[in-house]
């Protein structure tokens, strides 16, 4: 690569205690180009980003900006150099307006009083750069996630950012929103902004990137053009070949239903009926806000529902009672493992053991030995990679954390798994392992209901697809007959009908 790089990390190293997290990695960011950072969770991507953002400093190696060596001791210094980072967790104050957020920390003043007009002008200008047509007086909390992200990018631009780091910006976006984001990225390219892009979605790399830097276990593996075939990228990233991204092995479902939901209604959900047979994986597809998560949570007992029944193996479950659902053999892997699935400060063993703690206790005393043995067994079976079963689960990678949530229900002997975005934020290698767990459940006579926004996953891992739209089940497709288009057609079908009905 030429010498016109905006930002260069030159053979940087970083270790935390005895663990070498980054080992002589070199990455270049060029004006008007998108460098993709690719690697499994734990490969060192986020540490690398934190070095650029001034959160961590490198143990050795140099950081060059415009060819000159610079020090980035803190986030202020990084900002001063024109580097902006858009983290997965957005740095916005939901209760404040777009204008206030964009000018946060540098509020324009006149005679010591906030100059609201100037504030709005700055915000307006920043949004215009991205071609965003939003009212700058809207509280940020009222915006969708995608729009919030764009506001944050606008904020970075108004700070004259020349290097923009996007840390998994697409993880929580719908396809339409991703398309919008990519359009903005292309515009920024023409304006000469250099970008670093992180994503687990291989298909996005070709669409948006210019070249790809692959990391594995903290080491720099290769820089390749963005149009490198996916299989090759996976091989570089994982260090071995992965046979199939979606290894679904269909089981022969038996006749009577294991899980059945009849006429369930609550809030936006209207008269949902569905059934899942032993050995079956049923996917719930649909747009964001279609009610997939709400349905999964209602079935799991996490939320109340106003009418309808949920039966497991013919037995009716009480409403809003997770403990009863657990006893009946239901297991719920929630949408966000960090806020809903795990106690991050607790150990791997404890996280695996929560669902069995009460049922195995004697006279109120925790069966410590038994809990530990069970956790160790499950961890080995699920191939959870960790130093030790007593280590805080916080220190595990996303994929291994997710496997621990699965492990909790394996350990509890759950027969019906309710999965909500089971592979969100999980890297390719661990994804496949999670899919194998799904196969294991169905092979042993259990069943799975899986809500997913990723259509390749829906098509690759299910036997049937239920498409939801606006709180209803818009249609059912056999997976082998379904395509991305036919699913999307159903996902939006109801929306149009409702619109028309509204007009009449």
């Amino acid at each position: 690569m030429s010498n016109d790089a905006l930002l260069v990390l030159d053979r940087v190293c970083k270790s935390f205690g005895p663990v070498q997290v980054i080992d002589e990695v070199t990455v270049e960011v060029h004006a008007g180009k998108v460098s993709v950072l690719l690697g499994e969770n734990g490969a060192g991507k986020s540490t690398l980003i934190k070095m650029i953002a001034g959160v961590h400093s490198a143990d050795s190696g140099r950081i060059l900006m415009d060819g000159k060596e610079v020090q980035i001791p803190d986030t202020k210094a990084s900002e001063a150099l024109g580097i902006a980072t858009i983290h997965q967790e957005l740095n916005l104050v939901p209760s404040m307006t777009i204008a206030e957020n964009i000018t946060l920390g540098r509020v324009p003043r006149r005679f010591g009083i906030i100059n609201r007009r100037e504030m709005r002008r700055i915000a307006r200008e920043a949004l215009d750069q991205l071609g965003l047509n939003l009212d700058v007086n809207t509280p940020v909390g009222d915006l969708g996630l995608a729009q919030q992200q764009l506001v944050e990018i606008a904020k970075a631009l108004s700070l004259d950012a020349r290097v923009l780091i996007l840390d998994e910006p697409t993880a929580a976006l719908t396809n339409a929103e991703i398309a919008g984001l990519f359009e903005v990225v292309s515009q920024l390219k023409t304006k000469g902004v250099g970008m670093v892009f992180i994503s687990h979605h291989l298909d996005e790399i070709a669409a948006i990137g210019d070249f790809v830097n692959v990391l594995r276990d903290g080491k720099f593996i290769a820089t390749v053009p963005a149009d490198t075939p996916e299989n090759e990228l996976v091989r570089l990233m994982v260090g071995r070949d992965i046979d199939a991204q979606f290894p679904r092995q269909a089981a022969t479902p038996s006749e009577q239903n294991l899980l059945s939901v009849e006429n369930l209604s609550v809030g936006p959900l209207q008269n949902i009926s569905l059934s899942v047979r032993p050995g079956e994986v049923v996917a719930l597809a649909g747009l964001m806000g279609a009610g997939r998560t709400e349905l999964i949570r209602a079935i799991a007992g996490a939320d109340k529902y106003t009418s309808g029944t949920v039966k497991v193996a013919g037995k009716k479950l009480p409403r809003n009672d997770v403990a009863a659902a657990t006893r009946a053999g239901l297991g719920h892997v929630p949408e966000d493992r960090k806020t809903q699935g795990l106690v991050l400060d607790a150990s791997v063993a404890e996280n695996i053991g929560y669902a069995t703690m009460a049922s195995t206790a004697k006279a109120g005393l925790v069966d410590r030995k038994g809990q530990r043995t069970r956790a160790e067994k499950v961890a080995a079976r699920l191939r959870i990679r960790m130093g030790n079963i007593d280590q805080p689960i916080r220190s595990l990678s996303g994929g291994n954390q997710q496997k621990a949530v699965f492990g909790r229900w394996f350990s509890a002997g759950a027969k019906v798994l309710l999965l909500d975005e089971p592979t969100r934020g999980v890297d390719v290698g661990a994804k496949v392992e999670i899919y194998e767990l799904i196969n294991e459940i169905t092979a042993s006579g259990g069943c799975v209901l899986m809500a997913s926004s990723e259509l390749p996953e829906v098509l690759g891992m299910s036997d049937r697809v239920l498409v939801m739209s606006q709180g209803r089940i818009a249609g059912e497709l056999a997976t082998n007959e379904a395509t991305q288009d036919s699913i999307m057609a159903l996902a939006v079908s109801n929306v149009h009908r409702e619109d028309e009905m509204g007009k009449k």
């Binding site: 997770v322 403990a323 929560y354």
Partner: protein
């Protein structure tokens, strides 16, 4: 004792030991400093005094540990200590009911007050800070109503709690026994483990089938019972239940728990740490008295020690977790 055990390593890892026992190291340093400043510090009788003096705050803080582990806060413990001491004394001295039951009555009142706080926050959805703040005032008010603002002499049982067994002062005995019980309940029983789960992540605990509301009520009941015990020890030492007894102690109890390494955001805490935290406070007070430091400066010093102890803890956590 910890919920988060350390990785076993070859030999003695001083750094890891320091990281996991910051408060203990602080206590040892503090004791050494006090010993150098005044040799009287390290005499048998003085150490016995510290043991007695630490007992009230420590017992109260044991209960508080449960609430803080479950990500709550209990501001009502000082008031609960007072009302339990007052009712158990009223029971014997004023009402003339059997002395044998007085301690049980005091503990029951403490548990009841804790139950009300817990129910207010679990079922009434009040933040624990607000629910317990309300109870702080309500319970203190009720104590004044019962006592008409005057001290009541304690009955024999409660006085025994503040007394001596010849070889061993009763407060120290209670301190040891209640500490062991608290540690056992926190680490070995469903109640304790549930408190860790709820405090670590309420939503994750709920989705795993843990009865979050019941856990919240239970930890407040436990806190109330320990506060009651602590109040009766204090009254026993004075042979008198004061209406103002233990006012402001809630802050010392919280400080002890936090110095002991618990996190106010929940999910982390241990009884041994809490005991060390309470000892740090008691040693400072004792030492400052021995050194005859002026009242004005004592407050400054105690505040600084709390800030340093907790600040140090925050730092080491950051390092451990990178």
């Amino acid at each position: 004792m910890s919920s988060v055990a350390t990785t076993p390593k070859k030999g003695f890892d001083f750094k890891a030991f320091l990281a996991n026992n910051g408060a203990l190291v602080g206590l040892v340093v503090l004791c050494l400093a006090m010993f150098i400043a005044t040799p009287r510090f390290l005499t048998g009788p003085n150490l016995m005094n510290i043991g007695i003096q630490v007992s009230t705050i420590a017992v109260m803080a044991f209960g508080m540990t449960f609430v803080i582990v479950a990500a709550g806060i209990d501001l009502s413990v000082g008031s609960i200590a007072a009302i339990s001491a007052m009712t158990s004394s009223y029971w014997v001295t004023t009402a003339g009911l059997p002395d044998g039951l007085s301690i049980v009555v005091g503990l029951a009142i403490g548990g009841l007050c804790g139950w009300v706080t817990g129910a207010m926050s679990a079922y009434g959805k009040l933040p624990t800070f607000i629910a317990s703040l309300a109870m702080l005032t309500i319970v203190r008010g009720l104590t004044l109503v019962i006592s008409d603002g005057r001290p009541i002499a304690t009955g024999d049982s409660v006085s025994w709690l503040g007394g001596d067994l010849g070889f061993m002062p009763v407060p120290i005995l209670i301190l040891i026994v209640s500490g062991l019980i608290a540690a056992f309940v926190l680490n070995r029983t469903i109640i304790g483990k549930n408190a860790f789960a709820v405090g670590g992540n309420t939503e994750a605990a709920r989705l795993s089938g843990i009865p979050v509301k019941r856990v919240l009520v239970t930890v407040f009941v436990i806190s109330g019972i320990f506060a009651a015990l602590s109040g009766m020890i204090l009254a026993g030492r004075l042979d008198s239940a004061q209406p103002t007894l233990a006012s402001g102690y809630e802050l010392d109890a919280i400080a002890a728990v936090v110095i002991g390494g618990a996190s106010l955001s929940g999910g982390v805490g241990r009884i041994s740490g809490t005991l060390i935290g309470a000892l740090v406070l008691a040693v400072i007070r004792n030492g400052l008295n021995l050194l005859s430091v002026s009242a004005f400066w004592q407050q400054v010093v105690i505040g600084l020690v709390i800030a340093i102890a907790v600040g140090f803890d925050v730092l080491r956590r950051k390092n451990v977790r990178h």
